[in-house]
Symmetry: C2
Subunit: 328 residues, 2 copies
DNA sequence: TTGTAAGCGTTATCAT
DNA sequence: ATGATAACGCTTACAA
């Protein structure tokens, strides 16, 4: 910057004004500075800039696993929206371990970010973020409410979505429906189970506990769970799965068992339409979620005050056929 | 930091030494400083640190689309490796537009990154990176060689993989094989087409130009292309697709057409095993690629000198059945 | 071992 | 409109 000033024959402040696109510089000097910048290939040192101004023009996004298509889409959307505002995006996977997750978050906060979007591990206590929040870092949570902290949240209507799935299956004539709930994801999984039960109630059907089973996304575990379900006196004719990883595992298990019950899965997934039969899903829109999260975060950064918001997005039933198989 | 020093009753440099985990501090003072840090909830300002030392402890990753599962996995792996070294990762999607891509890269470089991993748009001229490279930013390219720049590259053996696919189809008895090549991705697509032709040569079969068609990943375009192939005098009994987006589009088109030719696709994809029949693929391992890219980048950052490297990773034929359908 | 002070590249304040 | 100068928070000679 000194070099630029020297070459342009102006003072440091003038260069700074030009670089920061501030007014109050004569056309002539502005031109001179711009030329010097071009000639010297100068670009502002963002660290000095940040040190001085306090804003890093960077936001952070922490998700459990970037490689999960849902989160990948979420990150993608946020990054797109950030680009529009000339913000850079730091990403990190928090992984399955809450302790590691805290380490990851802390490392991020080290960077005096303008804002942070977090999909935290559901068990993780994030009360340690309170100090940062107090200190001015805007934080928006996605998918699950933070434990130990009041903060903005973008989530989907898990109950409603699950109830829609049940209604769809009931309409196709099913009376005995099982719910395969993913073991991880306590919050979302529980909300979806609750919606499942509500859906049964709405249809005047009993919510039999033996028809709600916890599985992880391991195919063998799903095979086992399905065998047990079918060994019941009154076995289910339809299945509801609480997330796409479970849906996929169940589909693989069903192929192994050569079984073809009706099925509706929470979360849409790529190639659902190519399954045999095509899989009906309750879609949550990662684009809309990311957009809402980024939007709220940017509003907060811009100074939006007021109490914590909790924005709930709807889900959409995508009928493809697997939910309409008749019982039996 | 001043506060910490005051509270601990020591000088600034002592605090700095403790924070930077440098030796030469007495046990007593170190303890005092650590206590003061804990009490005050102090954490080092990374920008001041970077301003002083020059290293941001941050790397950048630029891919064409984060939401693409392949790149999501790549980013995930790189981020994982970065975490081990306490590095943070900036990500950005360069999109399909080379101009926008240059903007994205420039914005990243603004941050004096320790290193950069890039999957550039294939048409994009990245010669503007030469100055940065000269200035010391380590850059590793992935998947496609950069245009207008000599730099490290991690890629897969596209020719070999494609030739393997052809060999597999030939072994199943196919003599007329079509190649559906994705229109984008000039470099990879061309390499894979070359491999396709080589595979035919190896089998003593002619490479008929009318059997190599360019499609994008639009289902209608694939339907059209397939119809034309089947209107040939001697229509193909097997298909080779040059990437997973194309493979998926072709699968959707085949369902619409209710056609069941043999098929091998370049790139593995989730649920390939649940297709009907399960889809045989040439898998490139995004984990291995990310690992290699991160490894080389870290080596360069650590001072590894020497000429540009070009690391080629192998592919793996995953036989699932779709390639073994007999002709006719 | 410890502290003092200079300086990293900016921007903000204040004269001019 | 412009420029000198003092921070921003840290590291690192150098001196003690």
């Amino acid at each position: 910057m000194k070099d630029v000033a020297a070459r342009a024959g102006v003072g440091l402040s003038t260069v700074s004004r030009v670089v920061s696109e501030k007014s109050g510089v004569s056309r002539a000097k502005r031109r001179a500075v711009e030329r010097a910048i071009a000639e010297l290939g100068y670009s502002r040192n963002e660290f000095a800039h940040t040190l001085r101004t306090g804003s890093a023009r960077t936001i952070g996004v922490v998700v459990t696993r970037i490689s999960d298509p849902f989160y990948a889409q979420l990150v993608s959307t946020i990054e797109e929206r950030a680009q529009e505002r000339d913000l850079l995006v730091l990403v990190a996977s928090a992984g399955d371990d809450p302790v590691e997750g805290e380490r990851v978050l802390r490392r991020m906060l080290t960077r005096r970010l303008d804002g942070l979007i977090v999909v935290a591990h559901e068990e993780a206590d994030v009360s340690f973020l309170a100090a940062e929040k107090e200190a001015g870092t805007r934080i928006v949570f996605v998918d699950r409410p933070p434990r130990g902290l009041h903060a903005d949240l973008i989530a989907v209507d898990n109950e409603r979505g699950a109830a829609d799935a049940v209604a769809h299956l009931v309409q196709a004539g099913h009376r005995v429906i099982a719910c395969l709930a993913h073991t991880s994801g306590r919050f979302t999984s529980e909300r979806r189970q609750a919606g499942f039960r509500q859906g049964l109630r709405d249809a005047g059907l009993p919510a039999r506990p033996e028809l709600i089973v916890a599985v992880d996304d391991d195919v063998d575990a799903c095979v086992e769970a399905l065998r047990e379900l079918w060994s019941l006196d009154d076995p289910p004719t339809a299945l509801f799965t609480t997330n796409s990883r479970t849906t996929k595992a169940v589909l693989k298990a069903l192929r192994l068992l050569d079984a073809h019950p009706a099925l509706v899965g929470f979360d849409d997934f790529d190639l659902a339409e190519l399954m045999n039969p095509p899989v009906t899903t309750i879609a949550q829109d990662p684009w809309a979620i990311g957009d809402a999260a980024a939007g709220l975060l940017f509003d907060r950064i811009a100074g939006l005050a007021g109490p914590e918001r909790r924005i709930t997005l709807g889900t959409r039933l995508i009928v493809r056929g697997s939910g309409e198989l008749p019982p039996g």
